[in-house]
């Protein structure tokens, strides 16, 4: 049986941020920002991507990966 691949579809999430840096994600306060990075891709398609990702540690000790869609301003969460 072939192994299925997770589509890792982004899900909207509520984020409070200051100057683009998340402070609270889905009600959970952010303890630390481990990393942040930028993805700009698929500009040649109908659905270009511009995302500012953040890898965070929540106060409950969880690892969180969220991104801000720089085209719409919306926040999304993806599996780490």
């Amino acid at each position: 049986m072939s192994k299925s691949v997770s589509p890792n579809v982004p899900r909207p999430v509520s984020v409070k941020a200051h100057r683009g840096v998340p402070l609270v994600v889905a009600g959970e306060k952010v303890e630390a920002v481990r990393d942040s990075w930028l993805i700009e891709d698929q500009w040649w398609t109908e659905c270009p991507i511009r995302r500012h990702y953040h890898e965070l540690v929540g106060v409950r000790g969880r690892n969180l990966v969220v991104f801000c869609d720089l085209r719409t301003g919306g926040w999304f969460r993806q599996a780490a």
Binding site: D35, W37, I39, D41
Partner: protein, 1143 residues
């Protein structure tokens, strides 16, 4: 420098990091200046190819250039970064920056070492350049080392310690980058800790790959091209975002906000990197400093003078005076060593020529090479053998080539036959030393057609549509043009949005960017000190050749002497012809002693029967020849120079021709001159400017320019974007003319200036015209007196000239030359000449047969006699199936099925049946599988009887001929279409001679040339051919715009319009087209292309495996995908819009 700039960029790639960097060095410098940078370092991958361009651009800017490279280092196998041989993770990158002259020398040597093994594969395919850490350590002096980029930099402590030992802590920095990729922060934290442990400083860099945001998008596409992938499928190879665009210093400082020391270090380090490339690199050419050079050169010239102008030669005194003057100028300029160096190379060429030709060959009489260009006007060049034209007898003025005001080294270009040049180049490298001689590089750049194909593929556009757009492209590359290409081929709606719109934008951005490195056609640099101390030297794709990493402009900026050793196909062809004449007629032809007033030769020239000859064979030259009707070599010199942009734009062509025609009718006709002072400079060209030299002479005689000023004007006219430079001479010209002549007013001076100014396009110096005119005459003489030998020589020297082999053959057949198709029992590898004068096509013309296959077949034939059957051929030749099938499909096996007679007994009727049967019989059996110890012993083989196969039609046979050999000897496509064309009311070209000027005609033809000269105001010219001859079709601009795709891509056309035959045209017939229709609809029974011929002999080395790959060629499905079928896929390539021959 940098006082107000908080950050200096020390890691930047230009487009000379091929298919990675997306901006030119001058674009980077300009943008850096706009952003407020004080300095900028260029660090291309394993290269300094763009360094001189950066240096030159920086001279015009406030930004100081820093030089370096991103060098690939092969880490020891034990290094944890890579374990697998061949895996690119074995390699790491170091950023090396040049501090001083010693550092530059070390960098050049390191890069030379990095490339030394890159052509080591048997197929000489390029492999990854790299050096060892040991080699880096040995060349550390004068260099500053950064530990490399985020992705491939050195990060293990052991390696960094080795580097610290080599460079010392003062010249080693740990490099931090922040490309906003996942893992940046952790990496930089770790690198900072590493630096602290080793007491090293960190430095921030940006790893710039583009100067502007749009180029970042192009960079994505270029990376996809480099990986042979689409943008959609190359996510892992590409950069995650576009932060590699050159950003403002403040923005970069902010990006590294948590590493302020690393930012400050960029400025400190930049202050240490003071090396300037535009200073003296220490290059000297051999003989430069030779104090005895003048004496030696004088001795050589005086010795030759005595021989060339022996006894009481009528021009001896004039020659002696000219020689003394030239030697004086050469001595004053310190150029004696320069001429001696060229003479020495010619001596080497003599030795090579003797080896290549053999002492007793008929062509041993010929000089090893011939001069071209302005150097032909020099008597020193004539006497040292660098030119073959007597400048005194031909009245060639020296000024353009050599005078006391010259500011750059003069150009001496020498043409050689291809085989001699092939051996001469490595001989020169041997003679002067591999470290001291190398070819100049050239960098092919993106143009529209290549950009459409490569970027279109990266965008994932349909292959068939890309090909349609590319084939129909006008090839200029501006955004508007590519958009017009797409609109013309696929419709305007494709441009509205989506990937086709992106293609247009990307192609525009890519236009002019270098794509890869190649070798210059003949430019060579020779040095007294090792060249590798001045510029890296790398192996070329061709064996025994090596190239410097700079192109001719960078070499000139560095002060290198470039010697041009050019290969000229026609020289090779005339030498072959001389050999063939000797073999068949037992005559030795010395081309320097043939009669130069031969009536038959000049008659052919005047009637434009010049297909295949040098320079005067093109459509435009033929049209002109009928009008000018040259009668002497001097007039041919003018003719060769006449059809060039300079005389055309300058308005010289029609006045010259009209005055010539008038003089022929009225010998007393007084040629009009704008001013009496022009009578001297312009007498031989009847008051018009045809030669470059005449610009100089007119400026001197009319406007009293000095020799240096006049040469400055000429140079300004030959430079790109020369408007400003030319304008600066304008005022001086007008004032000078009015001052020098009391009868010249401003309006007359302006009129003469207009004539001079019009010449700003490309034109020949008279000396060049004389050299080329002589070869044009000699090749015509051979064509007239030895037509079969001349054609045979041309066929064996392809590709060359204006016409494809198919047209050369068709035209020669119409003159009565017999051509026989290739035959396995009668053909050699090359075309050969039978005793009766028939030409037998060579086996090398059959596509899909490799040289090794031909050698094998000929060896078997030589060993045990002619093949007697297909079974015999298969058993004895040992050819793979693909080669046997190509032979069968080409008709080369027909003799084996019809009693073995070549050219007889296999008449057209037989050929219709035999090819398919031979293909079936040779294609069915499988080859034997290779085993470890070799092959199975071949048992006798019975091919069995073929089933009853349908006969091929004439059209199918012609398609087969074109697809396998590129020529159709027995069937012209128009002859096959003639009945249908006649039914449609079309005429054959033979019928046009009897038709009146102005009548409406329709003519069908095979397109053999398409031209749209910039000088023709949008008019396109098509040269079409039928079974009787050729016809020039004039396509007006509006018709071209309406039917552009047809004009640019259809091989068979029906042209309808008005027949034009002007009295002044010398009998030339043109068709002014009103409409053009593709002849596809009447191609008759559609013959699909059986793709036997794609291999081109490039398949693998194992014959059997190769055979099994057999016809892995373009299949019908693929042809369908590219919008082609039948004839379109196999049509002989046409001379197409100054792009050479292409389909």
């Amino acid at each position: 420098m940098g006082a107000s700039s908080p950050y200096i960029e020390l890691h930047c790639h230009s487009a000379y990091s091929f298919l990675d960097g997306a901006s030119m060095p001058d674009e980077l410098i300009e943008r850096a200046g706009e952003l407020g940078y004080g300095a900028l370092a260029l660090t291309d991958h394993d290269s300094v190819a763009g360094a001189m361009e950066l240096a030159v651009a920086a001279r015009r800017s406030s930004v100081r250039a820093i030089f370096g490279t991103e060098l690939t280092v092969a880490l020891p196998a034990s290094d944890p970064r890579g374990q697998t041989p061949g895996d690119d993770r074995r390699f790491a990158h170091l950023t090396l920056l040049v501090r001083d002259g010693r550092g530059w020398r070390n960098l050049c040597r390191l890069l030379t070492l990095a490339h030394a093994h890159t052509r080591a594969r048997s197929d000489r395919r390029l492999s990854q350049p790299s050096v060892s850490l040991q080699q880096v350590s040995e060349h550390a002096n004068g260099l500053v080392c950064l530990t490399g980029c985020a992705q491939h930099g050195v990060r293990d402590e052991r390696t960094v310690r080795i580097l610290r030992d080599s460079f010392g802590p003062e010249r080693l920095r740990v490099e931090l980058q922040r490309p906003y990729a996942h893992g940046d922060r952790a990496r930089n934290r770790a690198l900072e800790l590493l630096a602290n442990r080793l007491s090293l400083r960190t430095v921030a860099t940006g790893d710039v790959h583009a100067h502007a945001p749009m180029r970042a998008l192009l960079q994505d596409a270029l990376v996809a091209v480099r990986h042979g992938a689409t943008l959609d499928g190359s996510e892992v190879c590409r950069r995650p975002n576009h932060t590699h665009v050159l950003a403002a210093p403040d923005a970069m400082a902010a990006r590294f906000g948590s590493h302020p020391d690393a930012v400050a270090e960029t400025v400190s380090l930049a202050e240490m990197l003071t090396f300037q490339l535009t200073g003296d690199l220490g290059y000297r050419y051999p003989g430069h400093d030779d104090g005895g050079a003048t004496r030696m050169l004088t001795g050589i010239c005086q010795g030759a003078l005595g021989m060339r102008y022996s006894g009481n030669h009528p021009r001896l005194a004039e020659a002696q005076a000219r020689l003394e003057a030239e030697l004086q100028t050469i001595d004053t300029l310190g150029l004696s060593g320069f001429f001696l160096l060229h003479h020495e190379i010619l001596e080497l060429a003599h030795a090579v020529a003797t080896e290549v030709r053999g002492r007793d060959s008929a062509r041993a009489l010929l000089a090893p090479g011939r001069g071209r260009g302005s150097s032909v006007s020099s008597i020193v060049c004539y006497l040292t053998g660098l030119s073959h034209i007597d400048p005194i007898a031909n009245d060639l003025a020296i000024g353009r080539f050599l005078h006391e005001d010259i500011t750059a080294l003069p150009d001496i270009d020498i043409d050689f036959p291809r085989d001699i040049r092939e051996r001469l180049i490595p001989r020169i490298v041997d003679h002067y030393g591999a470290e001291r001689a190398a070819l100049v590089a050239t960098f092919p750049t993106y143009r529209a057609r290549g950009a459409i194909r490569e970027l279109g593929k990266a965008l994932g556009l349909p292959a068939g549509e890309i090909e349609r757009v590319a084939r129909g492209s006008e090839g200029r590359g501006s955004q508007g043009t590519v958009a017009a290409d797409v609109a013309a081929a696929l419709g305007k709606e494709r441009l509205e949005r989506g990937r086709w719109a992106w293609l247009c934008r990307l192609a525009n951005e890519a236009h002019g960017l270098p794509r890869h490195m190649s070798q210059h056609p003949g430019g060579m640099v020779i040095s007294t000190r090792p060249l590798i101390d001045c510029c890296p030297v790398v192996p070329a794709a061709m064996e025994s050749r090596q190239i410097v990493q700079w192109d001719k402009d960078s070499c000139a900026d560095a002060g290198f002497l470039k010697i041009d050793l050019l290969g000229l196909g026609m020289l090779s062809a005339v030498e072959r012809c001389v050999e063939l004449i000797a073999a068949r007629h037992k005559q030795t032809v010395d081309l320097s002693r043939i009669p130069f007033d031969d009536k038959a030769t000049f008659q052919c020239i005047q009637e434009a029967k010049t297909t295949g000859v040098f320079q005067i064979e093109s459509r435009a030259q033929m049209g002109s020849l009928r009008r000018t009707r040259p009668q002497t070599l001097a007039e041919l010199t003018i003719q060769v120079a006449l059809v060039r942009p300079g005389p055309i734009v300058g308005g010289a062509v029609n006045p010259y021709i009209e005055r010539r025609q008038r003089l022929a009718l009225e010998p007393d006709f007084q040629v009009p001159y704008l001013h009496h002072s022009l009578r001297g400079p312009l007498a031989e060209t009847l008051g018009t400017i045809i030669f470059q030299d005449q610009v100089i002479e007119v400026a001197q005689a009319f406007a009293s320019f000095s020799a240096g000023e006049a040469e400055g004007l000429r140079r300004a006219m030959s430079r790109k974007r020369s408007e400003q430079a030319i304008a600066s001479h304008h005022e001086r010209f007008i004032a000078g003319a009015c001052r020098a002549h009391s009868d010249v007013d401003e309006s007359l001076a302006e009129e003469v200036w207009k004539m001079v100014r019009g010449f700003a396009g490309f034109g020949f110096p008279k000396a060049h015209g004389a050299a080329f005119g002589l070869l044009a005459y000699q090749s015509t003489w051979l064509r007239v007196h030895y037509p079969a030998e001349f054609l045979c020589a041309l066929l064996n020297e392809q590709p060359m000239g204006f016409y494809p082999p198919d047209s050369l053959i068709g035209e020669a057949q119409r003159r009565g030359v017999r051509i026989l198709a290739a035959d396995v029992n009668h053909s050699g590898a090359e075309c050969t000449l039978a005793e009766d004068g028939a030409i037998c096509m060579g086996l090398a013309y059959i596509k899909g047969i490799r040289q090794i296959d031909i050698d094998s077949l000929l060896a078997a034939r030589e060993a045990d006699g002619a093949f007697v059957s297909l079974e015999d051929l298969r058993a004895r030749s040992g050819l793979p199936s693909s080669a046997l099938q190509a032979l069968a499909w080409s008709g080369a096996c027909a003799g084996l099925m019809a009693g073995g007679e070549h050219g007889a007994g296999v008449g057209a009727g037989a050929d219709h049946r035999t090819r398919r049967t031979a293909l079936w019989k040779l294609g069915v059996p499988k080859g034997k599988a290779p085993i470890k110890q070799g092959r199975q012993l071949a048992l006798e083989l019975s091919l069995g009887d073929a089933p009853e196969l349908p006969a091929l039609s004439d059209w199918e046979l012609m398609i087969a001929d074109y697809s396998v050999t590129g020529v159709s000897i027995e069937r012209h496509p128009l002859a096959l279409l003639r009945a249908e064309l006649t039914r449609l009311g079309a005429h054959a070209t033979a019928a046009l001679a009897d038709m009146a000027h102005g009548c409406e005609v329709a003519v069908g033809g095979l397109v053999i040339a398409r031209q749209r000269p910039a000088t023709a105001n949008g008019i396109t010219f098509l040269l079409i051919e039928d079974e009787h001859g050729t016809l020039n079709v004039i396509v007006p601009t509006r018709l071209y715009e309406r039917q552009r795709q047809i004009v640019r891509t259809e091989p068979l056309l029906l042209a309808c319009g008005r027949l034009e035959r002007h009295q002044s045209g010398g009998g030339a017939i043109n068709l002014l087209a009103r409409s053009l229709e593709p002849l596809r609809d009447i191609w008759g029974p559609s013959a699909s292309v059986t793709a036997l011929a794609n291999a081109d002999g490039q398949a693998g080395t194992d014959a059997t495996a190769d055979g099994d790959r057999a016809a892995a060629a373009v299949g019908p499905a693929e042809l369908e995908a590219t919008g082609t079928d039948g004839f379109l896929a196999v049509a002989p390539p046409a001379h197409s819009f100054a792009q050479g021959r292409r389909r």
